[in-house]
């Protein structure tokens, strides 16, 4: 117990030193001013409508925050320990009763506190700016019929269990593994349907009328028509009570809110609700797929009563904070053994990889599919097919990329923008799940950093 207390006291001392180090650096003050400048850039945008203004503001807030944390993590944290070693300030410290790993962890702790406080500050400024803009629209002039201002609320979204039912089903065979079993409704018959089973619903969590939104990959009558007319049938599975809602002109890959909300009374006493989607006319097709941008399952979603927007923003900033912690952990850990410039280079590279994780993983998959295709062609006796690159080079590139992608967490699980831009509340499960995968990487990075500083000479 005494040892733990002693460790914590030393950890806190180094963390406090680190906080003083950062906050007294001119660079940090410049960085804060730069970030505030970025945050207010949206003010230069030409007169946008309220909803567009909200999207632009949210986008800018998260761009500015990400840039802030990247610079803090890479340029300030990445040079701190190497400079201590280079300037030999570490001698006086490491000769005291403190284990070298505690110095590293204390530095990490100090940076984490600064990052957290900075994000909290930026979050508060962002809220003030958003609420200010909301008020400005409310009391400003607006075009007749146009929305007066934007609502700042977040809707907890629930996805139902997808059931592809019965007749006239048509299985779409895609080229990619996840496309191999996409489901679509097409053809003359209008009986094929997608059923979404919502269960475990608690009526108290919903408004009297439950909002609902649909999103499908849709193709219309002609090649250039990307809309279909749909029917949404609401079913209480207990009483078999039904209500039909027409959903005309449902656009391909666009959120569609039916003209009518779902009465809460359709939720059964067991907390179940079914929604079925039919085509209204025997033309066009819809596909239940995974959204390529947000990676969310397409289909039908219902929304609980909205939660405070500020709460969603806090969750979003927490996601960004966890991303920042990972970058900090990697940079601080590698600075225990690498020089300042090399650490900077590594930090920038990792930030880059994390930022384009989706693009990189898609590219690796494409390369592997090309390799598979070439192999299949050769086995089938079609002879050797020429690829754009030699296959050995593709194999090496794929192996390296897979190694790099395996070493960093999938940051898409911690991207709050798909939620914020869709006015959707961030579910706690998504937050915890995303954090969990990143925290493992943070722990591993710090453990390796502690080991390397423990074993190195302080020459």
């Amino acid at each position: 117990m005494g040892e733990i207390r002693a460790f914590l006291a030393r950890f806190a001392a180094v963390a406090l030193l680190t906080i003083r180090e950062i906050t007294r650096r001119k660079f940090f003050i410049v960085l804060i001013l730069f970030t505030l400048g970025l945050l207010s850039v949206f003010a230069l945008a030409p007169g946008l409508d309220p909803n567009s203004t909200l999207r632009v503001m949210l986008t800018w807030i998260f761009r500015a925050t990400t840039i802030f944390l990247a610079i803090l993590a890479v340029f300030i944290a990445g040079t701190s320990l190497p400079l201590d070693i280079e300037r030999r300030q570490i001698y006086a410290l490491a000769s005291k009763p403190i284990a070298k790993p505690t110095i590293l962890l204390g530095k990490f702790g100090g940076f984490a506190v600064v990052l957290l406080l900075s994000l909290a500050g930026l979050g508060m400024i962002s809220i003030l700016m958003l609420r200010g803009a909301q008020l400005a629209f409310t009391f400003g002039d607006s075009k007749p019929g146009a929305p007066k201002s934007f609502p700042l609320e977040s809707w907890p979204r629930l996805a139902g269990e997808f059931v592809w039912t019965e007749a006239h089903k048509s299985e779409y065979q895609g080229t990619r593994p996840e496309e191999a079993r996409r489901f679509r409704l097409r053809g003359e018959s209008l009986e094929g349907r997608f059923r979404y089973r919502f269960s475990g619903l608690s009526p108290g969590r919903f408004n009297m009328n439950i909002p609902c939104r649909l999103k499908f990959t849709a193709s219309g009558e002609s090649m250039y028509d990307f809309s279909v007319n749909l029917r949404l049938v609401v079913i209480n599975p207990e009483t078999d009570a039904r209500q039909e809602i027409a959903c005309p002109q449902t656009l391909n890959n666009e959120w569609y809110r039916p003209p009518q909300d779902i009465p809460r009374t359709f939720i059964s006493s067991g907390g179940e609700l079914w929604l079925e989607v039919y085509r209204a006319e025997p033309v066009g097709a819809i596909v239940a797929d995974r959204d390529r941008i947000s990676r969310q399952q397409e289909g039908v979603f219902i929304y609980e009563a909205p939660e405070l927007f500020e709460l969603t923003l806090v969750k979003a900033l927490l996601m960004v904070f966890i991303e920042g912690l990972f970058l900090l952990a990697v940079v601080v850990a590698s600075s225990s053994i690498l020089s300042g410039p090399v650490t900077l280079f590594l930090g920038i590279s990792i930030f880059f990889v994390c930022s384009v994780y989706g693009f990189l993983s898609d590219s690796v998959r494409d390369v592997e599919q090309t390799l598979e295709y070439l192999e299949r062609s050769e086995h089938a006796g079609h002879g050797h097919r020429e690829a754009e690159l030699p296959s050995w080079l593709m194999r090496i590139s794929s192996a390296i990329s897979k190694g790099v992608l395996g070493a960093v967490p999938d940051f898409r699980s911690l991207d709050p923008t798909p939620y914020l831009l869709d006015d959707v509340a961030i579910p706690l499960r998504a937050l915890v799940g995303g954090m969990g995968s990143v925290i493992i990487h943070i722990v591993i990075s710090l453990a390796l950093g502690c080991l390397s500083i423990r074993l190195r000479d302080l020459t």
Binding site: A13, L17, R88, S95, I98, D457, T459
Partner: protein
């Protein structure tokens, strides 16, 4: 108790290798020595002789290539033993963004010294080293001498049993240098063990009980200063109030008994004592009103 060995090295060796081991530098080779409780032990040698490497090995900042070191009966990497050690590095490696108060508070926290006791020690050290007047100024604004004094404060914040001083008088003016030597002697009086390194031989001669001479990483000589300095072939006879007549008789007696008089001259003071005497006389006439007060006093 006085013979208790506080620092011990056995065949301690440190070799620095380049990344792929192509070039090797033997910084220290087979150093074996013992430092006993309460003594002032000096490591002397020219630059690159292995003094600082020895100190870093004793503090666990470096890992030995072979051999072993012990300090207070424990390996140098033992964290808790460091509670009893004070270390003054060769240069004043301080955090420029902190002030003296914050610096000492930080190091006090590392030693887990309770807040009230920490404040008392900081106060006492700042007073003792005459930097209390500048305690709230950022250290990057300090003169070299003031930084050195803050370094001394941090080395003593834990009231250590063993004090390791690497070039303690480096960069100091003669007055500050004298004060440091007095401090070392004071620490010895308090029963502390002091290990210091320097290439300023006069300083070492003034304060050390025993010294080890290192050259190119190898221990060349070790022993008590008095024993190392004694020349058994020559004898110094210091006479007071001896006029030419008495001197003549002494010479005659010595020559009759077969002794050879190598030199006979007035005793000379060393430059340090002349300098200090001059400054003290100047201060008696007029007290300085600017700069670092420790110099003017």
């Amino acid at each position: 108790m006085a013979d208790e060995v506080v620092i011990r090295t056995e065949a301690l060796t440190k070799t620095y290798s380049s990344l792929f081991g192509r070039t090797k530098v033997h910084a220290l080779e087979n150093l074996s020595l013992e430092v006993r409780r309460g003594e002032v032990f000096g490591l002397i040698g020219p630059n690159g002789s292995g003094k600082t490497t020895t100190i870093k090995l004793l503090l666990g900042l470096l890992f030995p290539t072979s051999g072993r070191a012990e300090i207070l009966g424990r390996p140098p990497t033992h964290v808790e033993t460091k509670h009893k050690i004070g270390f003054l590095p060769e240069e004043s490696y301080l955090y420029g963004f902190l002030n003296a108060d914050e610096t000492l508070d930080f190091f006090g926290r590392i030693f887990n010294i309770p807040a009230a006791e920490r404040a008392r020690r900081i106060e006492s050290l700042l007073e003792k080293f005459e930097i209390a007047h500048a305690r709230r100024r950022a250290i990057r604004e300090y003169s070299k001498g003031m930084m050195r004094r803050v370094m001394f404060c941090q080395a003593l914040i834990n009231d250590p049993e063993v004090i390791i001083l690497d070039e303690p008088t480096s960069g100091l003016d003669p007055i500050s240098s004298r004060k440091i030597k007095d401090l070392i002697l004071d620490l010895k009086k308090q029963g502390k063990t002091v290990l210091l390194s320097s290439h300023l031989l006069a300083d070492m001669q003034d304060v050390c009980d025993r010294v080890a001479i290192l050259y190119q990483g190898v221990l060349r000589k070790i022993g008590a200063v008095r024993d190392l300095l004694v020349n058994k072939d020559l004898v110094t006879l210091v006479l007071g109030d001896a006029g030419p007549e008495i001197l003549g008789k002494v010479r005659e007696l010595l020559s009759r008994e077969g002794a050879r008089v190598v030199s006979c001259d007035n005793t000379q003071e060393n430059l340090e004592s002349v300098f200090l005497k001059t400054i003290r006389e100047s201060q008696a006439l007029k007290v300085g009103d600017g700069g670092d007060p420790s110099v003017s006093r």
